[in-house]
């Protein structure tokens, strides 16, 4: 069921900059919806380096990616942002004019939002599954090559080859084993970065002859009309074998791709979005770009730069959202009205 929501600002990307944009837009009474392709907020901080220390966040001599995200979530909570996770913005349609912008944002989860302004805080792009470099793999994708399991039933009675050695690969090998005709796990080494009980479970099934493990790497796919027949594996000892295969699941982690942003009619420069440094607005009035995805003379890809950009973008955006409102700049330390919004007024 498609639903349409109306809001002041749609923020594309729920990484640290997208989150802080909620704060800066919120102080100016703009209501935000955030959309992110990951199932969790935090972007690269949460996906790539949750445990890694960051040393250049002002006021924090050291903070981990995940702690920064948790703090930001708490900081923006008073503005009650609406998170739409696990979905990608696929369409951005201009409904308004340069003076009175209005946009329609659509996601691949059937969500449609009408918004006055859009903030693109998409960082390095959207996280998408890594595609193994196997010739012709595109033709099988969605039919017999998959990067996620949506419906387990689809694998009932099938010969399933699973590539990878992480938790996703192990979990699905174990979950599909009872229903599939045969599950074969293919991994380049006899060690796994997965929960020990999953690894033990897999080894027990292999020992009992109920599942196969092949030490090697996939080198080719064979089949017709999107239907796989064989997966070719080069084993660790150099032998080349063809595994009978109806469906192949590949789990090599995620990579960042610019994705549909490229199709939104914005000027791009080397996959980045040029903006001015007064308002951080793109070539389309009402669409702002902040954080790692924008570019301007002197740009530094730092989280602190993105925070600054979000604050300035909000100052311009508020004139689109509330054209007749007089905006007075205020400090959170002293303004009772801002403190009310933050829920801390005495």
């Amino acid at each position: 069921m498609a639903e349409t929501i109306a809001t002041d600002v749609v923020i594309v990307g729920a990484g640290p900059i997208g989150l802080f944009a909620v704060f800066e837009f919120g102080l100016l009474d703009m209501k935000a919806h955030l959309i992110d392709i990951l199932p969790k907020v935090g972007g690269q901080c949460a996906e790539l380096y949750p445990e890694k220390p960051i040393y250049d966040i002002p006021g924090f001599p050291v903070i981990t990616g995940q702690d920064l995200v948790e703090n930001l979530k708490r900081q923006v909570a008073p503005f009650a942002p609406v998170y739409h996770l696990n979905q990608m913005v696929t369409g951005l349609k201009v409904l308004g004019t340069a003076e009175e912008p209005k946009f329609q944002v659509a996601t691949d989860d059937d969500l449609t939002i009408e918004t006055t302004v859009v903030v693109i805080a998409a960082g390095g792009g959207s996280f998408q599954p890594k595609r193994p470099p196997l010739a012709g793999i595109e033709a099988f994708e969605g039919k017999s090559v998959h990067y996620a399991v949506r419906k387990m039933d689809a694998f009932g009675g099938k010969r399933v080859v699973i590539l990878g050695g992480g938790d996703s690969a192990l979990d699905w090998a174990l979950n599909l084993q009872p229903i599939a005709d045969r599950v074969t796990l293919v991994h380049r080494r006899d060690a796994f970065r997965a929960a020990p009980h999953s690894v033990n479970g897999m080894r027990a099934l292999v020992a009992a002859g109920k599942m196969d493990f092949v030490l090697g790497q996939a080198t080719a796919l064979k089949g017709e009309n999107g239907r796989l027949v064989w997966a070719t594996i080069r084993k660790e000892d150099g032998a080349i074998i063809d595994l009978p295969c109806d469906d192949l699941l590949a789990f090599f982690g995620l990579t960042m791709k610019l994705g549909p942003v490229a199709d939104w009619g914005l000027n791009l420069h080397e996959n980045l979005i040029p903006v001015d440094t007064e308002k951080f607005e793109t070539s389309t009035p009402g669409i702002f770009a902040v954080g790692d995805i924008n570019t301007y003379p002197g740009k530094l890809k730092l989280i602190l730069s993105g925070f600054h950009e979000a604050a300035l973008a909000a100052q311009k955006a508020v004139h689109y959202v509330f054209p007749n409102k007089k905006i007075v700049f205020q400090y959170t330390t002293s303004s009772t009205s801002l403190q009310k919004k933050l829920g801390v007024a005495g």
């Binding site: 690269q44 790539l48 380096y49 890694k52 390095g124 890594k130 193994p132 470099p133 990878g164 050695g165 992480g166 991994h187 380049r188 080494r189 060690a191 970065r193 790497q217 090599f252 982690g253 990579t255 960042m256």
Partner: protein, 106 residues
């Protein structure tokens, strides 16, 4: 300064100067060497700076750490000479190092 040669998959090679103490990945990025993406910026968290160390250099360079070995699971066409270039620190002993970039990073 230490000279490092990057060979791409077509066999084209480029030699660049590396600072001692930096990493091979940083050297590649600073010099615009194609074939190294380094999405995570050197946190050993993405496997998009994968290189093959030339066989004559594997002993001097050494093998991957446990964490790096785990991360190499996300790389493609991993070989015994595979390393993540963000985890190779440039030392004077690496003068003349040769690494090859893979066909695909991610």
């Amino acid at each position: 300064m230490v000279k490092i040669t990057f060979v791409d998959r077509t066999g084209a090679s480029r030699q660049v100067e590396a600072d001692v103490g930096s990493t091979v990945m940083e050297t590649a990025i600073r010099n615009g060497v194609p074939g190294i993406e380094a999405e995570c910026g050197g946190a050993c968290a993405c496997a998009t700076c994968h290189v093959y160390v030339a066989p004559e250099w594997t002993e001097t360079v050494g093998g991957p750490s446990q964490m790096e070995e785990d991360m190499l699971d996300f790389a493609f066409e991993v070989r015994p000479t595979s390393r993540l270039s963000c985890q190779i620190k440039v030392t004077p002993q690496l003068e003349g190092l040769v690494v090859t970039t893979p066909a695909k990073q991610g």
